[in-house]
C-alpha cells in the first residue's frame, strides 16, 4: 500500500481545523499510519508540530525561513522532493489547497481529485470518492486510479473528527531534505479586508440575499424587511461581485464568519463556501423558488416561493404587527 501523507495548515502555530479532518479522511483510504507534513519556521512551527503529533503517529517537520509564509509554489517543490513516488497526499480544499493541489499532482505524476466530500471505498488500485458538481445540485461518485499515488483535496467540514486526539506521534526534523526552495512567485504581504459601514457579525438576525434577488433595485425590499425585523442585511458572494452591496456584508469563507441566532437565506443556493461562514447553528429559514436547491438540505425551515413576491408580503405582515 502506498504511503499516506497529510499536509497540515497552521497559522502562527495554531492548527487549522482541517488538520484533524484530513486524518479522518485518510483513515477511510487505508488503515496504514499517516505522516503529517508541517512546514514553517521557528517556535511557531514547533508548536504546530507538537499539536500535529497528537493527531498523527509521525510528523515531518520542515523548518526554513523560506517557509515562514506558505507559498504553494515553494511547498510544491518541497513535497516533490520529500514524498516518495506513489504516495497518497491529502490537503484541505481551501485557498491554499486549490493553489497547491493541481500542480503537485502533475509533478508527482499521479491522479488528482479535488474537493472530496466522501470516500466510499478504497483499495490499493482505486478509491471511490464522492464529489459535488453543478453548484451542489448533483452528487457524483468518482473512481480515482490511485495505483500510482494521488493528491486529494478534502472539503473542510466534510470529515468531522469525533475522538480527542492522542496519537503520541514522533516529530522528525526533515529540514535537510527540503531541497531547493526557490520559486518564480514571491510572497509580498497580506492585505487585510476593509471594514464596512455595518458589522454583520454583531447582528443576531440576518436577512441574507443571494443571486435570487435578481436586480440591484430589489436590494431595497430586503432592507425594508430587515428594518421591520430589526435585522441587518447580509448577502452571498455574487451580490458583492456585482457591487450591489459592500464586501463587508458577504457571508462565507472569503467573507465574514457570522454567528446569528436566526438566518434568513433569500434566494441563496447554499454553496459550501457560503455556508462555511455560518457558524453557531443558527435557526435557518430558506426561501427559494427551486425546491431542489441544496440549501433546503441544511435549513431548518424551507419555503418554496419567489422572494420578489414573498419578501414584500412578509414585510407588510410584520409591519402590521
Amino acid at each position: 500500500m502506498a504511503q499516506l501523507f497529510a499536509y497540515i495548515a497552521h497559522k502562527q502555530g495554531v492548527l487549522d481545523d482541517s488538520a484533524a479532518e484530513l486524518a479522518v479522511a485518510a483513515a477511510k483510504l487505508s488503515a496504514d499510519p499517516v505522516t503529517a507534513i508541517v512546514t514553517g519556521s521557528g517556535a511557531e512551527l514547533d508548536t504546530a508540530c507538537t499539536a500535529a503529533a497528537a493527531i498523527y503517529p509521525a510528523v515531518w517537520k520542515f523548518d526554513n525561513a523560506a517557509l515562514a509564509y506558505p507559498n504553494a509554489e515553494i511547498i510544491r517543490k518541497l513535497l516533490v522532493n520529500a514524498v516518495p513516488a506513489g504516495s497518497l497526499v491529502l490537503i484541505a480544499h481551501d485557498t491554499f489547497g486549490m493553489d497547491l493541489g493541481p500542480g503537485l499532482s502533475i509533478k508527482l505524476d499521479c491522479a488528482y481529485a479535488a474537493d472530496v466530500i466522501g470516500i466510499d471505498s478504497a483499495d490499493a488500485t482505486a478509491a471511490v470518492l464522492v464529489r459535488q458538481e453543478y453548484a451542489g445540485m448533483a452528487h457524483a461518485h468518482m473512481r480515482c486510479d490511485i495505483s500510482k499515488g494521488a493528491v486529494l483535496t478534502i472539503r473542510p467540514g466534510s470529515f468531522q473528527a469525533t475522538e480527542t486526539p492522542a496519537a503520541g506521534g514522533q516529530v522528525q526534523d526533515k529540514s535537510g531534505e527540503a531541497g531547493d526552495l526557490s520559486a518564480n512567485r514571491r510572497f509580498l504581504e497580506v492585505v487585510q479586508a476593509e471594514a464596512g459601514d455595518v458589522d454583520i457579525t454583531k447582528s443576531d438576525v440576518l436577512v441574507s440575499v443571494g443571486r435570487g434577488i435578481e436586480d440591484q433595485e430589489n436590494i431595497e425590499i430586503a432592507e425594508e424587511l430587515a428594518q421591520a425585523m430589526g435585522a441587518v442585511v447580509s448577502c452571498s458572494r455574487p451580490i458583492v461581485d456585482a457591487k450591489w452591496l459592500e464586501k463587508s456584508r458577504q457571508v462565507g469563507t472569503s467573507g465574514q464568519t457570522v454567528k446569528p441566532k436566526v438566518y434568513l437565506a433569500m434566494g441563496i443556493s447554499g454553496s459550501f463556501q457560503h455556508l462555511g461562514g455560518l457558524k453557531g447553528s443558527p435557526f435557518i429559514v430558506a426561501v427559494n423558488k427551486n425546491p431542489k436547491t441544496p440549501i433546503f438540505q441544511v435549513a431548518d425551515v424551507g419555503i418554496v416561493e419567489d422572494i420578489l413576491e414573498f419578501i414584500p408580503e412578509l414585510t407588510e405582515k410584520i409591519q402590521e404587527g
Binding site: 493541481p102 518564480n184 443576531d204
Partner: protein
C-alpha cells in the same frame, strides 16, 4: 502582452434546475441552457483590460465539441481578438489532466506571456489552470482578484484568501493565473455584438495538429472517472412550509417569534 484565456461551455447553474437522470448516468440534458463558465467571463474581461492598457492581443481557447464554438464567439464579441477550438473525438472523456495536456500543447504552439483560466468550472474542481502551469513549468497563482503590471519581466497579483483578505505576490512572466469572480465587472454582450463576429473564422485543432498521443488524452488517459450521479441520502432536511403564501407567512412569523427573530 500576448494573452490566452481558457474558457469552458457549461450548463448555466443560475438558469437551470439540474436534475440527475433516474439511472444516474448523466444529468437531464433536455432544455439545459448553456453558457460560458461564470469565472471565465471575468478572466476574459481582465485580459481585455490589460491589452487595452499595454497593447498586445487576447486569444480565447476552448476544448470541446462543435457547440463549444458559440462560447468563443461570445467572448470575441466581448473583445477577444481571436478564438481557437480544440476539438477531436480523441479528446472525449478527458479528465482535468487530459484537458490540461491539450491546452498545454495549444499554448506551446503560440507565444504567450500570460495564460488565464477561471478559478473553477461546473464540476468545481479548480484544477486545469494549476495543471497547465505545472506541465509548462510556468509559475502559477490561483484565485487572483487583482493584477498590476510590473517591470515587464514580472507582474504583481493579489490572491483572494480566507476572510476576504488578499495575498499579494510578485510572479514572473510567462505565468498562468486562475481568476476569481469580482476582479472586475465583465462587460455586457448584446446579440448585435455576437452577430458582428458570427462569420469570423475559428480554427479547429485536433490531436494530430497538437502532436498529442491518443492515450494521453480522452477516456483512456483519465485517472479520474465519474461512476454515476446519485441523490444523497439526506438528513432531516428543512421542514417545508405548505399552503398559500399567506399561510406560509403566518407560520413563519410564529416561528421567528419563537426563535427570537422577531420581537
Amino acid at each position: 502582452m500576448e494573452i490566452l484565456v481558457c474558457v469552458k461551455r457549461v450548463p448555466d447553474t443560475a438558469e437551470n434546475e439540474i436534475e440527475v437522470k433516474a439511472d444516474g448516468t448523466d444529468i437531464e440534458q433536455d432544455d439545459l441552457v448553456y453558457s460560458v463558465n461564470e469565472w471565465d467571463n471575468y478572466a476574459v474581461e481582465e485580459a481585455i483590460q490589460i491589452r487595452d492598457k499595454v497593447g498586445g492581443a487576447v486569444t480565447v481557447v476552448t476544448v470541446g465539441d462543435d457547440e463549444a464554438e458559440e462560447v468563443l464567439r461570445r467572448e470575441m464579441a466581448m473583445g477577444a481578438d481571436s478564438g481557437i477550438l480544440c476539438s477531436d473525438d480523441a479528446f472525449e472523456g478527458s479528465d482535468g489532466r487530459g484537458i490540461a495536456a491539450i491546452l498545454k500543447a495549444e499554448i506551446e504552439k503560440g507565444k504567450y506571456d500570460l495564460v488565464l483560466t477561471g478559478a473553477q468550472a461546473d464540476d468545481g474542481a479548480g484544477q486545469v489552470g494549476g495543471m497547465v502551469a505545472a506541465m509548462l513549468d510556468w509559475p502559477y497563482a490561483s484565485l487572483v482578484n487583482k493584477i498590476e503590471a510590473g517591470d515587464g519581466g514580472s507582474i504583481t497579483v493579489g490572491r483572494e484568501i480566507e476572510g476576504g483578505n488578499q495575498e499579494m505576490n510578485e510572479i514572473q512572466l510567462p505565468c498562468v493565473l486562475s481568476i476569481q469572480t469580482g476582479i472586475n465587472e465583465p462587460r455586457y454582450v448584446g446579440i448585435r455584438g455576437i452577430r458582428k463576429v458570427a462569420s469570423v473564422e475559428i480554427p479547429t485543432h485536433g490531436a494530430a495538429d497538437l502532436g498529442l498521443a491518443a492515450d494521453a488524452v480522452g477516456a483512456a488517459g483519465a485517472k479520474v472517472k465519474r461512476v454515476d450521479y446519485f441523490m444523497p441520502e439526506l438528513g432531516e432536511g428543512a421542514e417545508i412550509l405548505e399552503g398559500s403564501m399567506e399561510e406560509k407567512i403566518d407560520k413563519l412569523i410564529e416561528m421567528l417569534k419563537a426563535k427570537g427573530g422577531l420581537k
